[in-house]
């Protein structure tokens, strides 16, 4: 399948989605979020794909909505809510519902809704030169595309308020220190370190990994008692997979497990 604003390729169990507007720091244009949604859903339904990676072409990850194409129209104010409804929110929901692990490889500036895109992934690995920014308030808007849900859950209320009300830059090192992202690495190590994570996830027990991401998400809205039930139900499914049988026998035989993702 070919897209206008992104590239999507499948290789060695990894689906790589590359935001491809490098001249605009990969800012979202038009229906670009729906292209990302389509690529994620295609990868989810492809049994060969066991992990999905999102990164940016060129020197940026994603600068957020492209203001040249989303600012107020000359003939009156644009409805800033409708594009969320039709494009951004469906993308974020598709990420939430995906049953395969998702990795954001943040190669450069990550701002506004581009930051929401990264936050909605499971593992965020960033080059140390990358910066994160809730730029919305700098133009009189509010954080969107899920930022106000993910951010306080990753860095707490005080830091979420600080980023959202001040709109300043947070370095990749700070982001890792705050627990906003999984890891910050030297720029020249980003490729190797992210490949190692993708290789590990692509050879992992995919069904179990999908259940894990669902359970962690659900835990934020559940009482402990409900979460215990969800864990029981998830374990029932995971415990019935071929990968669980393989995991147990590999453990008993003291060898590396060879998971097939089913």
């Amino acid at each position: 399948m070919s897209y206008k604003h992104i590239l999507a390729e499948h290789r060695d169990g990894v689906c790589r989605i590359t935001l491809n507007r490098p001249e605009r720091l990969n800012a979202f244009a038009g229906m670009m979020p729906l292209e990302i949604k389509a690529a994620i859903e295609t990868a989810e339904h492809d049994p060969e794909v066991r992990v999905i990676a999102i990164t940016g072409a060129g020197r940026g990850f994603c600068a957020g909505a492209d203001l040249d194409s989303s600012g107020p129209k000359k003939d009156g104010p644009r409805d800033a809510g409708s594009v969320l409804e039709t494009a951004y929110n469906p993308m974020i929901k598709a990420m939430r519902d995906c049953r395969k692990p998702m990795v954001a490889v943040v190669n450069g500036p990550c701002a506004g809704a581009g930051m929401s895109l990264a936050l909605a992934c499971d593992i965020i690995i960033a080059a140390k030169s990358a910066i994160f920014m809730q730029a919305f308030c700098n133009i009189g808007l509010v954080p969107d595309a899920g930022s106000t849900w993910y951010l306080p859950r990753q860095i707490g209320r005080a830091r979420a308020l600080g980023m959202a009300l001040l709109g300043g830059k947070v370095t990749a090192d700070e982001a890792a220190d705050w627990g906003m992202i999984w890891k910050a690495v030297d720029d020249d190590r980003l490729q190797a370190e992210s490949e190692a994570i993708l290789t590990k996830l692509a050879s992992g027990p995919t069904v179990g990994l999908g259940l894990i991401r669902r359970a962690i998400h659900a835990s934020f809205g559940n009482r402990l008692s409900d979460q215990l039930d969800l864990e029981r139900d998830s374990q029932r499914i995971a415990g019935s997979t071929a990968d669980f049988a393989e995991g147990v026998s590999a453990f008993l035989q003291k060898r590396q497990a060879r998971f097939r993702g089913a």
Partner: protein, 267 residues
């Protein structure tokens, strides 16, 4: 200096609220609590105010419930728990709800210890800037046999760590300002002699910012705590619709495209 329990000074878009009972570490008695409640409502209603700073006079930010309240409990003849609960309904909780209802950025200038209800009061503000010598302490349980209140049991776990909230509540150990900043319970900690400069800079910035959007951002993050992702996405859509119709958004975009600083009017 006036002996009012709360000093209120509005200038250049910023309302400076200074708790003024320095001899008792700004302990919350009925008069101070009611003065705060009234001031929070006033600054919310006053269109000239676009940012609020809450701070304490003297060496403390706020040491929590005033000792006079505790003495009253001992001599009232009523069940103390009843008296406490009544005071919370009548004064403390309405004061905290009024603070939460301010749709403008509120900065806590934590000049010294914030203990008990004083810690809750600080954390309920949007941006907490603490002097390095300050500390936070949940004195309720271990020292008095009561539970964290006026929002403490809600605010502390939202610093991002259940383990830390439990530790602070059950041990009443002091959390130094640098540690509070390092663990994300507060926004920042600065050297004591830089506190005024830092708070002044933030207040000035907020007073010239997109006030309408600030209010919406605050409400979004408060609602986020208990919302599902689906619900929150809908809320963001609705709030973005409102923010996107503001004069400040038009100005923000024009400034961005014109590569200049925006001049926000706050609406």
């Amino acid at each position: 200096m006036s002996d009012e329990p709360l000093l209120v000074d509005v200038r250049e878009g910023v309302a400076w609220l200074t708790m003024n009972r320095p001899k008792v570490l700004n302990g919350l008695d009925s008069a101070l609590t009611r003065a705060l409640w009234h001031a929070f409502e006033s600054v919310e209603e006053d269109p000239a105010v676009r940012a609020v700073v809450l701070t304490g006079n003297g060496r403390a930010f706020n040491a929590g419930a005033d000792i006079s309240l505790l003495q009253k409990l001992a001599t009232s003849g009523e069940r103390p728990g009843e008296v406490v609960a009544r005071a919370m309904d009548a004064e403390f909780n309405p004061m905290m709800r009024a603070l939460g209802a301010i749709r403008k950025p509120v900065i806590a200038r934590v000049n010294g210890p914030a203990a008990g209800g004083g810690a809750s009061l600080a954390l309920a503000c949007d941006i907490v800037v603490a002097a390095r010598s300050a500390y936070f302490q949940l004195t309720f349980g271990p020292n008095l046999g009561i539970v964290p209140d006026i929002g403490g049991s809600w605010l502390f776990p939202r610093g991002g760590s259940r383990a830390r909230a439990l530790g602070l509540s059950l041990t009443a150990e002091r959390l130094s300002a640098p540690d509070a900043a390092a663990c994300g319970l507060i926004w920042s900690c600065v050297a004591d002699d830089l506190l005024d400069a830092e708070v002044g800079k933030l207040a000035k910035r907020f007073a010239s910012g997109p006030t309408l959007a600030y209010g919406l951002i605050k409400e979004l993050l408060d609602e986020s705590a208990t919302n599902s992702l689906d619900h929150q996405l809908r809320l963001e859509r609705d709030f973005q619709r409102a923010a996107g119709s503001s004069a400040d958004f038009a100005e923000g975009v024009a400034a961005f495209l014109g590569k200049r600083q925006p001049v926000f009017k706050g609406r």
